[in-house]
């Protein structure tokens, strides 16, 4: 069992992990320091959720060493698609599940737990929805409700599985803003995302998964590279850089019978904006 070093929250050394004897990821080397904001990217089924859940200790480790610093409180926000939205439970009751360990043998919650839940719901802007059943929530409200359940435990490490899937652009922006605020407050945030342009490219550190392992780990400028993305997604990708913004686009497949020519330049396009572009 590896132990995290001073200044580390999580350490994975040459880890192979998965479920029920099946290896999903191998040779994973990863260090996470307190206060980081990290995105895990890659195609569907590449092991993003598995890597996230390995930080919860919910996967089987077949090789290597993995450890999380002692006394780390972990908050987890699952994909909203996995939730039974017809379950008879209100927003406040969901949030209170996060503090189940407090007075665990009693069915009722204390006044302190309820007031803590109310504070978290207020911070997330959904205090007025406290008594609303979860089935009557919008996509963004659903995400915030499950974020509240994670935050009620005052986590040091917050893990989110696709927190922006199924929400509109405005809600996505609000969720990312809230995660950034939490991160500024000292919470280490690790999230998975499919959204390379709207989410991943704005994060300070990305981990790209593919071919059952970690393909790249670093800032978006290093990870969102055509060669890495092609290995991850199995398809050529075009990376467009415009100022500080990075956009990733799949290169359209050529029509059958079309003439094939090797690309004259790598698939990175730098768009240089004219100073007066905003006025146009």
């Amino acid at each position: 069992m590896a132990t995290v070093r001073v200044g580390e929250l999580v350490r994975l050394d040459g880890v192979a992990l998965g479920y029920d004897g099946e290896v999903a990821l191998r040779d994973v080397n990863l260090q996470i320091s307190p206060g980081e904001l990290i995105g895990i990217v890659g195609p569907s089924g590449c092991g993003k959720t598995t890597l996230l859940r390995s930080l919860l200790g919910e996967t089987e480790v077949y090789a290597g060493d993995s450890s999380v610093a002692d006394n780390t409180r972990v908050g987890y926000v699952p994909q909203v698609e996995t939730v039974d939205w017809n379950f008879p439970i209100t927003v406040e009751q969901v949030a209170l599940l996060g503090s189940w360990r407090t007075r665990r043998w009693l069915p009722w919650t204390s006044r302190a737990e309820r007031s803590r839940a109310r504070v978290v719901l207020s911070q997330l802007g959904i205090a007025d929805l406290a008594d609303r059943p979860i089935r009557a929530l919008s996509g963004g409200e659903q995400q915030r409700t499950f974020l509240a359940r994670a935050l009620v435990r005052s986590p040091d490490l917050l893990l989110l599985d696709e927190p922006t899937s199924g929400v509109d652009i405005k809600t996505r922006h609000e969720i990312l803003h809230q995660l950034a605020a939490l991160n500024h407050a000292g919470v280490t945030v690790v999230l998975t995302t499919h959204d390379l342009n709207g989410v991943a490219s704005h994060l300070p550190r990305l981990i790209a998964l593919g071919e059952q392992t970690v393909l790249a780990d670093g800032p978006p400028s290093e990870v969102l590279q055509p060669a890495i993305l092609e290995r991850a997604y199995g398809q050529p990708m075009l990376v467009v850089q415009s100022g500080n913004e990075t956009y990733v686009l799949p290169v359209p497949e050529e029509a059958p019978g079309a003439h094939e020519e090797p690309p004259a330049r790598p698939n990175v396009v730098n768009v240089i904006r004219r100073p007066d572009a905003d006025d146009a």
């Binding site: 379950f87 439970i89 009751q93």
Partner: protein, 289 residues
């Protein structure tokens, strides 16, 4: 109207039905929300096998049926963990096999046929003081289990994946709940019989679900409906002169139909009111323009 209360056997029957009605509804809340209604039905049949073997071997019914039920639950849990089988198939195989053992034993020992009919269809009017004490003890035990495991059970029922992530020992809690379910079925066997237990597990929570979106409220309503319909079923059966178990389930079914009808009428009234409000708003707009 008070005639049934004059008889000791009716008093015992009404107390037993109230207790069993309440506890089956309480356990049933978790059963329906975990979409496990089938397990209640299966376990009732499985425990019938245990009851038959207990009679034949001269073992105390409650003890024999409880051990049989616990063993069935253990086998179901073990089989269901295998990916290739799945929970519903595991329940189907194990509970029908256990039931078949009971039938096989009956066919060998025909002299017990009447007792087995009682287990199949319930014989609440034959409850002795001792039976009542044992039933009350089992109900109390199940209530204590639900009280102590309330938070983990609610969490697991709602979101098992995250419950595991938040440190809830899901396998242990599930195993204890399964044993509580088996104990509930054993306690209900004499009151309702094998064939009607599933209805008592399912109907009160479903009725409560139609009434509320809050889990604690749903639980309280379900227990009240279960207990009250248990009592009312035995009371009505005195005057109707029909089987008490069947009357309990019929009363519960009637409550379900009434609640459903009330809900349908309520939503229709709501839609009509919304349409009226819309028409009035339109009229107001046309007058002001």
């Amino acid at each position: 109207m008070l005639e049934p209360f004059d008889f000791g056997f009716m008093q015992r029957a009404m107390i037993a039905a109230t207790l069993v009605g309440g506890v089956t509804a309480a356990v049933g809340v978790f059963v329906i929300l975990r979409r496990l209604a089938y397990i209640g039905h299966g376990l009732a049949h499985s425990i019938f096998g245990g009851a038959v073997v207990s009679f034949t071997l001269g073992i105390n019914f409650f003890l024999g049926a409880s051990i049989w039920g616990a063993f069935s639950v253990f086998l179901i849990n073990q089989a269901a963990r295998r990916r290739q089988i799945g929970g519903d198939a595991a329940i189907g195989i194990i509970t029908t096999a256990a039931f078949a053992i009971g039938i096989a034993v009956i066919s060998r020992a025909r002299s017990f046929t009447r007792d087995f009919e009682a287990a199949l269809f319930g014989e609440i009017l034959g409850i002795t003081n001792q039976d009542l004490y044992v039933t009350a003890g089992m109900v109390l035990l199940i209530a204590v289990v639900l009280f102590l495991l309330w938070k983990p059970l609610v969490f697991i029922t709602f979101d098992q994946d995250v419950a595991t992530a938040y440190g809830i020992p899901v396998r242990w809690v599930e195993a204890i709940f399964s044993l509580a379910l088996a104990a509930t079925v054993v306690a209900a066997l004499q009151v309702l019989g094998v064939t009607l237990i599933a209805a008592a597990l399912v109907i009160p929570p479903v009725v409560a679900r139609l009434m509320t979106d809050s889990f604690p409220r749903l639980f309280a309503i379900a227990v009240l409906i279960g207990a009250f319909t248990g009592f009312l079923g035995v009371y009505i059966s005195w005057f109707a002169d029909v089987s008490s178990g069947a009357t309990i389930v019929l009363v519960q079914a009637a409550v379900f139909v009434l609640t459903l009808a009330w809900g349908v009428l309520g939503s229709r009234r709501g839609r009509n009111a919304a349409r009226r409000a819309e028409r009035l708003a339109g009229l107001e707009r046309s007058l002001t323009e």
